[in-house]
């Protein structure tokens, strides 16, 4: 599903953010990418989203070599990926329903389809009753659930989560992780970048550790089938 072959990324300052990364994530996997601040985790997410181009190497996502995707086809490629961020990135002037429906609007889905799918996905993340609320009326955990619902509404094959529990307390963080696990159980490949080692240990999934742009360990979880 995701493959990185000898991928390096060097910013203009000349310091490599990622150095000769080789990595493979198969379909349906749940993977944690951990490391300290500045270790290159976020650069990795940006490369997978094709927000950045690697300085060297080949990245393959869902069978597509990213360097062969033309600029005008990037939006179509990104529709296969759901993304969740630490700061939720919700539209403050729109309610929960509109925030989630926005992702459908952006890809030109018919309004009829949104009316059917948005309530269903809000039920999945446990926010069906709060569809009229605005982001500022929700807790951090609830806001992150909205962001997850928005990431999932277009049924992506891969969900990328960049520090999804970074702004949440322990309870909310745990609930979000459980939700991501449920999503993974339904077949979506989930990649979570985090430095919350407590949760990583408790989840018992595959853990890739990045330090100074290099993969220093890749440990399979107990319940991983691969």
């Amino acid at each position: 599903m995701i493959k990185l072959e000898h991928v390096s990324k060097t910013y203009s300052a000349g310091i490599p953010a990622l150095n000769d990364i080789n990595l493979e994530i198969t379909e349906g996997e749940f993977v944690f990418i951990v490391g300290d601040s500045g270790s290159g985790k976020s650069t990795l997410i940006k490369l997978l989203l094709k927000e950045l181009e690697p300085s060297e190497g080949v990245i393959t996502v869902d069978g597509k070599k990213l360097h062969t995707i033309r600029r005008r086809h990037i939006p179509k490629f990104r529709r296969n990926l759901g993304v969740v961020f630490q700061d939720f990135r919700l539209l403050k002037d729109r309610n929960v329903y509109d925030n989630v429906a926005f992702a459908q609007r952006v890809i030109g889905a018919p309004v009829r389809e949104s009316r059917r799918k948005v309530p269903a996905i809000l039920s999945t993340v446990g926010l069906a009753a709060k569809y009229k609320s605005y982001p500022k009326q929700l807790s951090g955990g609830e806001q992150q659930r909205v962001a997850i619902a928005r990431a999932l509404i277009n049924q992506p094959k891969i969900l990328l989560a960049d520090e999804p529990t970074g702004n949440l307390d322990a309870n909310n963080a745990w609930e979000i992780m459980k939700l991501l696990e449920e999503i993974n159980a339904r077949g979506t490949t989930v990649v979570v970048v985090t430095h919350n080692m407590e949760i990583v240990k408790a989840m018992n999934k595959r853990v890739i550790t990045v330090q100074k742009g290099i993969i220093v360990s890749d440990e399979k979880g107990d319940d991983d089938e691969i």
């Binding site: 989203l49 005008r72 939006p75 179509k76 490629f77 990104r78 529709r79 993304v83 990135r89 539209l91 926005f102 992702a103 609007r105 952006v106 890809i107 030109g108 018919p110 309004v111 928005r150 990431a151 277009n154």
Partner: protein, 302 residues
């Protein structure tokens, strides 16, 4: 693009204007002022050109023939004149007609004074063609041609009038182009500023759109709509104002400066607005489109 997406894009365009109320209002107001000035100038130029055209139609070139020329030869010259593109109309004036006109002009009702010339027409060799042109600036070309024609003795022209009218027409043309260019630059700059602010306000939203797979067109279209709407509103408002003012000004000038009525003949408002409305709307919408397009190309790398 789906129908619902088109509706959404237009709605977002209006939302942009509403979110940036102050900037949008400033842009519409300045755009209105620019188009108002343009419209004012356009109305003056159109009226002036109509007056010049009228004056031009009164300026004629006169062709006199060699002595002893036959009527057939005169007719041939007439045919040649008629073939010229510069010529709008030409009339043959026989020696007798010329004398009759002269008599009426100089002797008036004094039959006795004219009687001395009863059988001896002093203008016997003054048969001529009086030629009117489509465009006064073509006069010198026509005169050169006429002078070269066989059987032509003399070509009379009013060079000063022709040159003055022609030069004045060009001057008005240059000033128009100059003003339009300045207005265009000012208005494009204004709309660009408003759209830049709109992009800054919606930076987060644009970022989210990009991440969830919005196409360039989807992200950019509301800003184009915003620019076009500002341009449209900025041209409709001054057109309404000009329509009301034009009629009032004509009536006012007619009443207060009645001596001008013999010199100036204002065009009716409909005639001016027939061409002003499409020109102003195209200018407004064009400036709006251009201003927003330049800006999103510069600031919205999606």
């Amino acid at each position: 693009m789906r129908f619902s997406s088109i509706g959404y894009t237009i709605k977002q365009g209006f939302c942009n204007i509403w979110r940036n109320k102050m900037f949008s209002l400033a842009s519409i107001a300045t755009m209105s002022a620019c188009i108002f000035l343009f419209g004012l100038f356009f109305a003056i130029v159109t009226n002036f050109q109509a007056m010049v055209k009228e004056a031009e139609s009164g300026v004629a070139v006169t062709v006199f023939f060699n002595e002893g020329i036959t009527q057939d030869e005169i007719d041939w010259i007439g045919e040649e004149i008629g073939k010229r593109v510069e010529v709008s109309e030409y009339n043959f004036i026989s020696a007798e007609e010329a004398w009759e006109e002269f008599k009426t002009e100089y002797f008036g009702n004094d039959e006795q004074a004219a009687a001395g010339f009863q059988d001896d027409n002093p203008l016997a060799n003054s048969a001529s063609y009086e030629i009117y042109m489509n465009d006064i600036s073509m006069q010198s070309t026509l005169v050169d041609y006429l002078t070269g024609l066989e059987g032509v003795r003399e070509v009379r022209q009013s060079e000063i009038v022709a040159n003055t009218l022609s030069d004045f027409n060009s001057l008005i043309g240059y000033i128009s182009v100059g003003i339009i260019l300045i207005l265009l630059l000012v208005a494009v700059f204004l709309i660009s500023n408003t759209v830049t602010t709109g992009i800054a306000v919606r930076k987060d939203e644009i970022g989210i759109m990009k991440l969830i797979g919005a196409t360039d067109r989807f992200v950019r279209a509301p800003f184009i709509i915003e620019g076009v709407m500002i341009g449209l509103m900025g041209s409709i408002l001054p057109l309404i104002l000009l329509y009301i003012l034009y009629n009032k000004v004509i009536v006012y000038i007619g009443e207060k400066f009645s001596f001008l009525n013999t010199l100036i003949n204002f065009l009716p408002v409909e005639e001016v607005f027939d061409s002003l409305v499409p020109v102003a709307l195209i200018l407004g919408v064009g400036i709006g489109f251009l201003g927003s397009r330049i800006t999103i190309r510069k600031h919205l790398k999606v």
